[in-house]
């Protein structure tokens, strides 16, 4: 029955116009970045590396496909979550609001299985969206700008050679996917509570923005709670651009994200199993 439910959910998802808005948005975002870099990428590189060039001699193709992909992956912390919740935030509340749960739940369908099928469908959708972002940003970037090393500045300055970059990007996108699954799981909690499409989207984004701001503030009290915020761990895709990979840190963050996903889905199940279908 689970297979049938997932099949139905996928069919509903891909027959809705709303599901293609994020796809279109990713195409536009990647397109804009590529065109922008084509038109003015060289002066941007010169401006960003101005200070570095006083200390280092920089040679080779700095404006390359990997740099384009790196700029694109930076969107994982804010614009991709918005695109994800547009679809996943509506998967439960949309049906409650439209009244279709009356028909579905008056049939021999377990509420637990229905929510799990919906979440697995959301995971497939998110995976496809992140894969699209990865393929387009890396593929088009390499096609138009070629390959080369990149200089990354987070906690330190890392110069990453071209040879290791494809693997690093794939791992970073996979980690980013985990973060986006968490966003989907959080939106499910609000979606189970709401009976309209907008509330889960606004509430999920509000929490992500609030947590991101809190984890970014250099104030003691915020620094104390920072390790417990999932947004801190979502941003650890950046660890894949350290020269030496810190697997302990990556593993810990991945574990925290998985635990959050499980907790959010458990909360969704508790809410939905008790929910009176009154719409």
């Amino acid at each position: 029955m689970m297979g049938i439910l997932i099949h139905i959910e996928l069919e509903k998802l891909f027959r809705r116009g709303r599901s293609y808005i994020p796809v279109l948005a990713v195409l536009v975002i990647i397109g804009v970045i590529q065109v922008g870099m084509m038109l003015d990428g060289v002066s941007l590189i010169d401006f960003v590396s101005e200070n570095l060039q006083e200390v280092f001699i920089l040679e080779g193709n700095l404006l390359n496909g990997y740099l384009i992909a790196f700029i694109s992956i930076n969107g994982l912390w804010i614009h991709v979550p918005i695109l994800v919740v547009i679809v996943t935030g509506d998967m439960i509340s949309g049906e409650a609001g439209a009244g279709t749960f009356r028909m579905v739940l008056s049939r021999p369908v377990s509420r637990t299985r229905l929510i799990l099928a919906k979440f697995l469908t959301a995971m497939v959708y998110v995976a496809m969206l992140v894969a699209l972002l990865a393929v387009l940003s890396l593929g088009l970037g390499i096609l138009f700008f070629g390959k080369g090393d990149i200089i990354v500045m987070f906690e330190s300055i890392n110069i990453l050679p071209e040879e290791i970059l494809m693997g690093r990007f794939l791992m970073a996108f996979l980690f980013g996917m985990l973060g986006m699954w968490l966003v989907a799981a959080l939106s499910f909690v609000f979606s189970a509570l709401a009976e309209n499409s907008l509330s889960p989207i606004i509430l999920t984004m509000a929490i992500i923005i609030l947590f991101t701001i809190v984890s970014g503030f250099e104030i003691n009290i915020f620094q104390t709670i920072r390790p417990y915020l999932f947004t801190t761990h979502m941003n650890n895709w950046q660890s894949f651009f350290d020269f030496e990979l810190d697997w302990n840190r990556i593993g810990r963050s991945a574990g925290v994200l998985v635990l959050h996903i499980l907790a959010f889905i458990a909360a969704t199940l508790v809410i939905f199993r008790k929910k009176d279908i009154t719409t």
């Binding site: 069919e11 009244g99 279709t100 739940l105 049939r107 021999p108 279908i277």
Partner: protein, 298 residues
């Protein structure tokens, strides 16, 4: 045989008690009418039967199986149209029925879907998106989805909503056919009392979440003292006679008509009394209806 038994059923939403100690029994093969004004608790009762909402207290048994969140197989035996028919608007009528068959754990049979669409008069619109459907077409599709998986018990909440007179007759005939030819037990909730009066054999009248009357339609009407319109040859004499016999109030109307309040079983005695006193009776018109009875109770 009992198809549905409801005992001591309660449901509140905050301070509002929507269902207040409801008791009723539906026999197999019944067309059972649920009557009540808006907000009387009909739809809440139906949602409770389908376990879309959980009761505060009470017991519901369908075909010997208790209704609760665990007995999923029970829902295979039931089909329902609850309030307004809502569908996946971005899908066709055909696709909606196909998906709902899959939810019922059945294989989507192309011929069955086409036949069901034909039975409700939507055979030409199967491939059209539900988004463009009128209220009447949605109502027909709602009935189609309630019966497509061949349930034993069909619950229809206001099935005539939004239908034109032809549509209402079609749906009434369809309900009667489902009951008589296919042996389906049907629970029909409606505020259109005439509809219930025409097709239900038993009914429950609900008011404020409570049962105020239950029984066969004829039983309920017989127990009700209603108005009788009589066309007679001598109005004054007839009025005096009837008042003398204790039928009050007797009201002369225009021409040769009088109105009085009598029970159905007393009609022969009234006409006999008049005829025996040489008053010609040209017409006896009962003015009672289920609607009048319903209003008197709620």
């Amino acid at each position: 045989m009992t198809a549905l038994e409801v005992r001591d059923l309660y449901k509140s939403f905050g301070e509002i008690r929507a269902v207040d100690g409801l008791d009723f029994t539906v026999n197999r093969g019944d067309i059972y009418g649920l009557l009540g004004v808006n907000g009387s608790g009909k739809s809440t009762t139906i949602r409770l039967l389908l376990h879309l909402i959980a009761p505060d207290r009470g017991r519901m048994v369908i075909s010997g199986i208790p209704v609760n969140g665990r007995n999923l197989e029970l829902r295979r035996k039931m089909g329902a149209l609850i309030e307004r028919p809502d569908f996946y608007n971005y899908l066709s009528a055909y696709k909606n029925l196909e998906i709902l068959l899959k939810y019922s754990g059945l294989r989507p049979d192309r011929r069955l879907i086409r036949e069901t669409l034909q039975r409700v008069g939507l055979e030409k619109f199967g491939d059209k998106k539900v988004r463009i459907f009128s209220q009447g077409m949605r109502q027909r599709l709602g009935i189609a989805q309630a019966m497509i998986h061949d349930p034993e018990l069909i619950i229809l909440d206001e099935p005539a909503n939004g239908l034109d007179p032809h549509g209402m007759v079609d749906i009434r005939n369809l309900i009667l056919r489902l009951n008589r030819e296919y042996g389906k037990t049907i629970i029909l909730s409606s505020h259109m009392l005439r509809e219930i009066e025409m097709i239900a054999n038993r009914m429950l009248i609900i008011d404020g979440g409570k049962a105020v009357a239950e029984g066969t339609v004829s039983e309920l009407l017989q127990s009700y003292e209603s108005r009788l319109r009589l066309q007679v040859s001598d109005v004054n004499k007839a009025c005096a006679l009837l008042e003398e016999a204790g039928y009050e109030p007797v009201e002369p109307t225009d021409g040769n008509e009088i109105r009085c309040r009598v029970k159905v079983e007393e009609v022969p005695a009234v006409t006999r009394l008049l005829v025996e006193k040489n008053i010609s009776v040209y017409a006896v018109v009962p003015e009672k209806s289920l609607e009048e009875y319903f209003i008197s109770l709620t």
